[in-house]
Symmetry: D2
Amino acid sequence: MAEFNFQGKKVYYETYGAGEPILLLNGIMMATKGWAPFIENFSQNNQLILVDFFDQGQSERMTEPYDFSIQTALLGGLLDTLKLDSVNVCGISYGAKVGVDFAVNNPKRVRRLLSFNGAARMPPLLAEISKSWNEAAKLEGGMAYYLATIPVIYSDIFYERQRAWMDKRQELLVPYFGFPGVKEPLVRLTNSMMTFDVVDKLSALDMPVLVVTGKNDNLIPQREQEIMVNSIKNAQHVILPECGHASMFEKPMLFSSLILGFVNSKNSEFAV
Amino acid sequence: MAEFNFQGKKVYYETYGAGEPILLLNGIMMATKGWAPFIENFSQNNQLILVDFFDQGQSERMTEPYDFSIQTALLGGLLDTLKLDSVNVCGISYGAKVGVDFAVNNPKRVRRLLSFNGAARMPPLLAEISKSWNEAAKLEGGMAYYLATIPVIYSDIFYERQRAWMDKRQELLVPYFGFPGVKEPLVRLTNSMMTFDVVDKLSALDMPVLVVTGKNDNLIPQREQEIMVNSIKNAQHVILPECGHASMFEKPMLFSSLILGFVNSKNSEFAV
Amino acid sequence: MAEFNFQGKKVYYETYGAGEPILLLNGIMMATKGWAPFIENFSQNNQLILVDFFDQGQSERMTEPYDFSIQTALLGGLLDTLKLDSVNVCGISYGAKVGVDFAVNNPKRVRRLLSFNGAARMPPLLAEISKSWNEAAKLEGGMAYYLATIPVIYSDIFYERQRAWMDKRQELLVPYFGFPGVKEPLVRLTNSMMTFDVVDKLSALDMPVLVVTGKNDNLIPQREQEIMVNSIKNAQHVILPECGHASMFEKPMLFSSLILGFVNSKNSEFAV
Amino acid sequence: MAEFNFQGKKVYYETYGAGEPILLLNGIMMATKGWAPFIENFSQNNQLILVDFFDQGQSERMTEPYDFSIQTALLGGLLDTLKLDSVNVCGISYGAKVGVDFAVNNPKRVRRLLSFNGAARMPPLLAEISKSWNEAAKLEGGMAYYLATIPVIYSDIFYERQRAWMDKRQELLVPYFGFPGVKEPLVRLTNSMMTFDVVDKLSALDMPVLVVTGKNDNLIPQREQEIMVNSIKNAQHVILPECGHASMFEKPMLFSSLILGFVNSKNSEFAV
């Protein structure tokens, strides 16, 4: 519903409600409109901020390859536009990576950091799997790209139990991926994170951090996420059983509860 | 700060704040005053209700053996006293067992149910371990009872990393357990849950339920807690790594976040 | 080094040594010659039998789509050829599926059954992932097929620690997959298992069964393999940490030890 | 069936069969005769060596407190007596600790090292739990000692599924622990390991090492055993699901298979 210019390019964002602010960062194939089912819940006692990264949703399409850091920089522009010194930063997958990148580069602007299905670097195996997505993007139509990307995102149990939901998703996504101009931005987004690595900077973080791991996340597995838990002095760790890489879809009630609880919990240290 | 009579016996309770009500139920060796570090957080936007079970804190000491069900019944009296039709019920360990017992017997009075380190029955192995606590209670002084009960409650990692905290706890608890009249109520509380089993009634529950498991809980291990997760149709499950049976002490920030988030999350189903 | 005809088609096999016989069944992209590093170990006190399934190694290439059951039937022909009433059947991945199919259809011919990274059905998520392999097979050259199939087979930790090994594998496999006639049989093999499901027949098995699961197996995850463990009355279960779907490459010493130990252990029940 | 003198004290041992030698080391409450169900299996192609530590079985009862290292030293005397330069050393629990102590002090005498439910130090939490055993030993009769020690050794699932076996065990052990002179040696054995710690010496080990962990081992949990896995360069790790601290009783077929397989596997490195 609003936009601003960053480095001469349009950035689309939305805000809702008032209170302790939550900046919610999209996964790679998401856009602001995908958060519709969560808006009421996240804005009843909080200010909710949604944003499309470059090459996502209603933000500017890029024409050249770019580095991950432009997405991080964009967030600084967004906070300036909103005249917010600091916010709670909560991201999932690609958004979780941008979130931790923003936190290590702008620690004063992050009150609390929440990472769902995230990492502090591009995991080597995920880098290789991502290349297979880009290979599939070369094929005509949307099916090959759908099959290369979507099934590995979900846990096997979700895939089996929520088969009707998955089938409906396939009906929507296969034609969508087949539209002209849809796969190219996804390939650029994928490529933008290939060299991301801020592991060495994690020990400097001192805001409260929540790391939420899907126990069956095949793309960013538990061991990778534990790198963050073990490197950040004030990190809390939660495991969601029977959950893959898409925790907001696979476990929406837990996704919501963890965000609302961690952001709105008054004290973060307890003299118990 | 307040009390009422239930079946001719005094029940002590405390209430704080206003809003969506949270009834917080003690573990076996706890009392209302142990929740002091959590009160401000839980009452800022919610009504917090604390209560001592019979044989705990400032509630009546019993003279005869009794059944678990009297503790459950007491909660009905408490809600009547507070003129509350229903509340969110959140218990840990013994309190989680009473909580689930209350929910299966009074489903209309439980808006949401939260179980930390809980079970829907007395696990067979815990029943046997509990007997060793009662054996240790026969020995003079507080050391044998301390050693039999406290170390197995915590995860090995907490025990090692928070050694100063554990040592201080030992300094407090060993003399405390040695005072005349302290071990007897604990033995009665322990015995009261020996035959508890509501597993067969879980499938009737339809309020949102959150089951939180310490990954290193030696007393009520993951498999036991999964009985609840698998039997309750609307159950959400969270695992806390590096956490034993005392999640409120071992992971206070997560304990608090999960309660505040799950109780205050507006919708519990998402059309994602 | 030897061959026989089954239903008019050539089957290639090899045998080594003498003793309690071990029939070792290939994964989908394997062939008898891939077992070279294991032959000495497995044949020092045992008869080792290797075989190429149809569309593998030196066995006959198929021209039409076919069903999984022909691979199972082929094993009966092999035992007849070798004049062996029964053997210990040990398979990995595709071979583990054929192995369990052979066991439920020929229980008298299986002394002990060993499943590495296997399942008793085509897991629904793997079926979908497999389709993406077949999409990738449509692209020119071997790179797309390599990227679609190989990285998801290994655990993230193996992928990172054994990077030189993986790079060398890529050097070999990318040109190999690009050769004319290489991808087609792999697509047929993949398709042959799509409808496989013998879960309902597992309870009839009563030979000793060993199920070995890579803790980080993304293709046939732990939950899927536990279906076998929970359905077979005499099943033993082992988890290999830091191991993905290719246990024979990722953990060759444990792969070998478990086979030699389970096959050669004299009694399978203990009056302890 | 045989004995030798070590530092003026009697050591009892037994040997069976011939071949690659397996020295099997008792847990704290075990003795050579407890291995009866395993002897045939372990001696069919191997030389099996059983031994009672001081204060166990038919070896000498001690009169003063002693240090763990005397048990380690005793093993050197045993190998000298048997005129064996080196053996495969396999221990469980207390025996696994002695085994790793022997390996770091006598690396040339250990061909391969196998640790079941073991550790390279006295884990801090186990040290505290052990003190509760010694408190329970002060009570008359065998029940308190039984309840303090035995239930925590088994997994909750074994305890529930093998209830008849556990009840029979209780029938045997309660009177046994009550006999005069039975608890005192157990207390001394417990005390002997209190200060054991060779973690810093693990990196020097270069024989093949197998670490087998019961997933539900409450006494020496997975994290503790991973210290060995991560510190020893040539360590292999296996997890046994639904298994506690008594793997030889809870999973005898896997216990046996892993020993026979790991000891008799010809090569320990594979050029795969």
